[in-house]
Structures are given as structure tokens and as C-alpha cells.
């Protein structure tokens, strides 16, 4: 198989940081409640990472 197209961990980490930053900013502006939001939606990080791993595997197999 060829080398990986991208790093799923890197992308996941980056996306999580960006999302955390956006949510934190909105919370500071009083638009959202940060804690309940994080408590409910944090598993999306695992879903995103798993999906990226599958995409990475498919890209490498097809290339």
C-alpha cells in the first residue's frame, strides 16, 4: 500500500481544537452553554477519527 494520504490523528486533533475554540468563543459571548454542549457531543471526536481512519484506508487501497 502507498503511504498514507493524510494523518487521521492529526486531522482529528486539529478539528477538535478548532471546534473547541469556536464553542469557547460562543460561550464567552453568551450564545451557548459550554459544559452541557461538551458533555453531550464529545463522542463526535471518536466518530470523526474513526471515519477518517476508514477514509485513509480506502484512499490507500485504491491508490
Amino acid at each position: 500500500m502507498s503511504r498514507p494520504a493524510f494523518s487521521p490523528e492529526g486531522v482529528t486533533f486539529g478539528v477538535c481544537l478548532v471546534t473547541l475554540g469556536v464553542q469557547g468563543t460562543l460561550a464567552n459571548l453568551g450564545r451557548v452553554e459550554l459544559l452541557p454542549l461538551l458533555r453531550t457531543w464529545w463522542p463526535l471526536a471518536l466518530v470523526l477519527w474513526g471515519a477518517l481512519e476508514l477514509v485513509d484506508l480506502w484512499v490507500r487501497r485504491s491508490s
Partner: protein, 525 residues
């Protein structure tokens, strides 16, 4: 699996755990949405208070029976006017705004039900609590006729009770205070301090995880206390199971019976017999009017002024006895015995330390392993003395006027008996012996020790100071009797099914609409 993947997985899971923890402690660290937070069974956060009241007349002729059921709030019952039960309910609602709190408080109903002499007081807390996450407290202040028999069931709230005929209370957290109950009291308490003062009948108490103070009980007290210290003053009789706590008892009018574990015991002025069993703690008893029995594992016994016989067993602790009027039996392992003023002799078996009997009368039987013995009778020998000490010396101080027949032996030491009529023999490797009749002979004295055996003469001592002191009366506990004869001790009843208030009660409730009493931005206890 690469280290990068592991690290990211740990990071995500750790972040989730942090978020979950922050959610659960958000009240304490002031993060996240406000509202009611519960910690340690108490509510925290902004709260608002509202009041409601009701009253119910009680038919005359029979003693009123009051049953109160509550949770998360205080219940206070005191003596009021005869023939009427007055109830005041303070509702404290933990919501951020007064409007929301008032709307919620209006859903909390004060329920005053029952018929005839029976009055039931409660709320619809169970129905509300099932559907809501809002925290609220319900505090009752009740005035009941003095002849009332009161039953209280309160969880997570303090109970205060005074001036009624009899009481049956079960409470947890925040403590219980019971005063001036004319009849019997039965109490089950968990995780809270208990204070009882003035019970005209018997007291039955079961307490866990809280200190207990009992005074002025006219009838017998039967207590079961664990994980808390206990103080009892002025009770007719005391029977007690105690674990992991200290006991101090004073002025017990009857028998004093203690079954303890990991419980030091101190008892003063016991008019009846004292029977104490405990472990990992010392026992100290003074002025016991009857017999004394004390058994301690890993602890010592100190007893003085015992009117009856004394039977003492101890291990890993010494025994100290002073002024015992009756015969003494003592068995001590890994400890010694020190006794003064034993009026009717003693039988003592000791291992691991010395024995000193000073100022005794009567027969003595003594076996000491790995210890020395000193015997100093208070008056001329009047009873048989048999003493054996292995790995130690033996010394007998003979008061003038004593008449006895001696057989003394020292296995590896010397026998020194320079008294008239006694002769010593040296048997070489078999040790030394002494025998003979002193002052013409009399009681038998047989002494044997591995070490030296010494007899010496001394003057007779005065018996002043050896008199056994009687228990001191601390004042008989009295409690005012109610105007009407009290009914028998209340028995536990099943939880009542809430019924709607009768039409007669509705107008009373309507007379006192909820009043908002803001408690400030936070109600922290």
C-alpha cells in the same frame, strides 16, 4: 497500534472524563448552568422560602397520636395548647428566580389528615420529587397537646421534640434533640448527633455514626450505639451495645451492662451491678454498689469502691483495684495486678507482670508467671495465703499479731524469713526452704518462687482510708407528667397513604397563602 494513536485516544477519553467530572461538581466551582446542586445530602444554590400553616382540633377523651413524615427538612414538635395540633410548614425551593420558586412552591402541599385522635402530617414530596429535578426543603414546626404520643420519620433533616407524652423517632443526618418526654422514647438515628434530656419512661436507642448524649432517664435505658461516643448521666439502669466509640456513664440507678467492641468504658456511681465486656479500650469504674464483672481484651481495668464481689479478666493491660468489699477473682494475661484494700481476699492468676496486694484481708490464692509478688496484709493474717511466682521474687510483709504456719520455697534464690518460730534450710541446687510456726501457728501460708522469698515483720497499719465508698446519688431524674395519662409506647406504623385534605382544612390552608421570603443568593449551611 502506534504511540500517536494511543496518545490521542487517551487525550479524548481524558477530556471526556474531565468534562463529566466538571458537570458533577459544577455547583462547587461555579461553572456551568445554575440551579440546584446536591452534595452530601444538602441542597446548595439560590433559594426562596414560602410558608403555609394549618391546624386541626383533636377529639378529647383519648390521647392524641401525631404521626409526622418528612424528608430534607427539619421537624420540630413542641407542647402546645391542649386539644389542637398546629402545623407551620416552611418550604424552601432552590431555583434561580423567585417567580419560578413561587410557582414550584405552590405545588408543594401541606397534608394534615387522620381521624379521631390520629393526626398525620406530611407533604406530597414523593409525588413531586419523582417528576422533578428541582431541590426543595420542607421544614415543619408543630405544636401538639402535651399528652400526645408522637411518631416522627424524617430523612435528611434534624428532629427536635419536647414536652410530649411519648415518642418514636427515626431520623437521619442533622441530629436529634429530645427533651422532657413524660413516657417512653424510642429512637433510631443515623449520621447525626443525638441529645436526650428528660425521659419519664424507658429509653430505647439505636444510633450509628453520631455521638450520643443521654441524661435524666427515669426508666431503664437500652442503647445500641456504633461509631459514636456515648455519654449517659442519671439513668435508672443501662444496658448497652457499643462499638467504636467511648462510653462515659454517671449515676446509673440500676444495673450497668455494657457489651462493647473497640470501646473504652468509664462508669461512675453505679447503684446496681456492673457487667462490662469490651475490647481495645480500658475500663474504669468507680463506686459500684453491687457486683463487678469486667472482661477486657487488649485493655486494662481500673475499679475502685466496689461493694460486691469483683471478677476481672484482662489481657494486654493491667488491673488496678482499690477498696473492694467482696471477694476478688482476677485473671490477667500480659499485665499485672495492683490492689489495695481487698476486704475478702483474692484469687489472682497473672502472666507477664507483677502483682501487688496491699492492705488486704481474707484468703489469698496467687499464681504469677514471669512476675514478682508483693503481699502486704492490712491486718494480722486471717486467711490462707498460697502464692507462687515463676521467674520472679515473692515478698510477704507480716503485720504484728499474725499467727501462721509457713512453708516457703525458693527454687533458684534465697528464702529470708527472720521471724520467730521459722527456720530456713539450704538444699543446695534444690534451692532454699523455710518452714515453721510463727506465734504458735494459725492460718496456712505457702509461698514458692523461682527467685527470692522474703518475709518481714511490720507494724499493723490503720484501716482508715480503706472503707468502701457507696455510689453517690446524682439526683433522681424527674419529668413532668402530662395532664392526661399517656398511652403505651407507640409502635412503628406503615407509611401512610397520602389523602387529600378534607374540605375543613382547605380554608385553613387558603388563609395562609405562600409568602415569599428570599433567602439571599445562596443558602449555604
Amino acid at each position: 497500534m502506534t504511540a500517536r494513536k494511543i496518545a490521542l485516544l487517551v487525550l479524548i477519553v481524558g477530556f471526556a472524563a474531565t468534562v463529566e467530572t466538571a458537570w458533577h461538581v459544577r455547583g462547587d466551582v461555579k461553572i456551568g448552568p445554575e440551579g440546584c446542586r446536591v452534595m452530601g445530602g444538602r441542597f446548595y444554590g439560590p433559594s426562596w422560602g414560602f410558608e403555609a400553616a394549618a391546624e386541626r382540633a383533636v377529639a378529647g377523651g383519648q390521647a392524641p397520636r401525631l404521626e409526622v413524615e418528612n424528608a430534607f427538612g427539619e421537624v420540630s414538635v413542641s407542647a402546645g395548647a391542649p386539644g389542637i395540633v398546629k402545623v407551620r410548614l416552611r418550604k424552601v425551593v432552590f431555583l434561580p428566580t423567585e417567580e419560578k420558586a413561587r410557582a414550584f412552591a405552590e405545588r408543594i402541599e401541606l397534608r394534615l389528615t387522620g381521624d379521631g385522635p390520629l393526626v398525620r402530617v406530611g407533604t406530597n414530596r414523593d409525588e413531586i420529587g419523582r417528576r422533578e429535578e428541582t431541590g426543595f426543603e420542607t421544614h415543619f414546626e408543630i405544636e401538639a397537646p402535651p399528652e400526645s404520643v408522637v411518631e416522627i420519620r424524617n430523612e435528611h433533616g434534624r428532629v427536635e421534640l419536647s414536652g410530649v407524652a411519648a415518642a418514636d423517632v427515626a431520623a437521619s443526618f442533622e441530629g436529634v434533640s429530645i427533651e422532657r418526654v413524660a413516657g417512653d422514647v424510642k429512637l433510631e438515628a443515623r449520621h447525626g448527633e443525638v441529645e436526650i434530656d428528660g425521659v419519664g419512661g424507658a429509653l430505647e436507642l439505636n444510633s450509628r455514626h453520631g455521638s450520643v448524649s443521654v441524661s435524666g432517664v427515669t426508666g431503664a435505658s437500652k442503647l445500641d450505639v456504633q461509631h459514636g461516643d456515648l455519654e449517659v448521666r442519671r439513668s435508672a439502669g443501662l444496658e448497652l451495645d457499643l462499638a467504636h466509640g467511648e462510653l462515659e456513664a454517671e449515676s446509673i440507678g440500676g444495673d450497668f451492662v455494657v457489651r462493647g467492641q473497640h470501646a473504652p468504658v468509664r462508669g461512675f456511681d453505679v447503684f446496681g451491678r456492673a457487667h462490662v465486656e469490651t475490647s481495645f479500650g480500658d475500663v474504669r469504674l468507680e463506686r459500684v454498689g453491687g457486683e463487678l464483672y469486667a472482661r477486657v481484651q487488649h485493655g486494662g481495668v481500673t475499679a475502685s469502691d466496689v461493694t460486691g464481689a469483683a471478677n476481672v479478666e484482662a489481657s494486654h493491660g493491667g488491673v488496678t483495684l482499690e477498696r473492694v468489699a467482696g471477694p476478688v477473682e482476677a485473671v490477667v494475661q500480659h499485665g499485672g495486678v495492683e490492689a489495695r484494700g481487698l476486704a475478702r481476699g483474692a484469687r489472682v492468676r497473672v502472666s507477664g507482670s507483677d502483682v501487688t496486694l496491699d492492705g488486704f484481708s481474707g484468703p489469698i490464692g496467687l499464681e504469677v508467671d514471669r512476675g514478682s509478688v508483693r503481699l502486704a496484709p492490712g491486718s494480722p493474717l486471717d486467711g490462707e495465703v498460697v502464692a507462687r511466682a515463676t521467674h520472679g521474687d515473692l515478698r510477704l510483709e507480716v503485720p504484728e499479731g499474725s499467727r501462721f504456719e509457713l512453708e516457703a520455697e525458693s527454687v533458684r534464690g534465697r528464702v529470708d524469713a527472720p521471724l520467730e518460730g521459722l527456720t530456713s534450710e539450704d538444699e543446695g541446687h534444690k534451692g532454699q526452704r523455710a518452714s515453721g510456726r510463727h506465734a504458735g501457728g494459725g492460718v496456712s501460708v505457702r509461698l514458692k518462687a523461682d527467685g527470692d522469698v522474703t518475709l518481714e515483720s511490720r507494724p499493723v497499719r490503720s484501716r482508715d482510708g480503706w472503707a468502701v465508698a457507696r455510689p453517690r446519688a446524682g439526683g433522681k431524674p424527674t419529668v413532668e407528667a402530662p395532664a392526661v395519662a399517656a398511652s403505651p409506647t407507640p409502635k412503628a406504623t406503615p407509611r401512610p397513604t397520602p389523602t387529600p385534605a378534607s374540605p375543613a382544612e382547605a380554608p385553613a390552608a387558603a388563609k395562609h397563602p405562600p409568602q415569599a421570603t428570599p433567602d439571599g443568593t445562596s443558602t449555604k449551611r
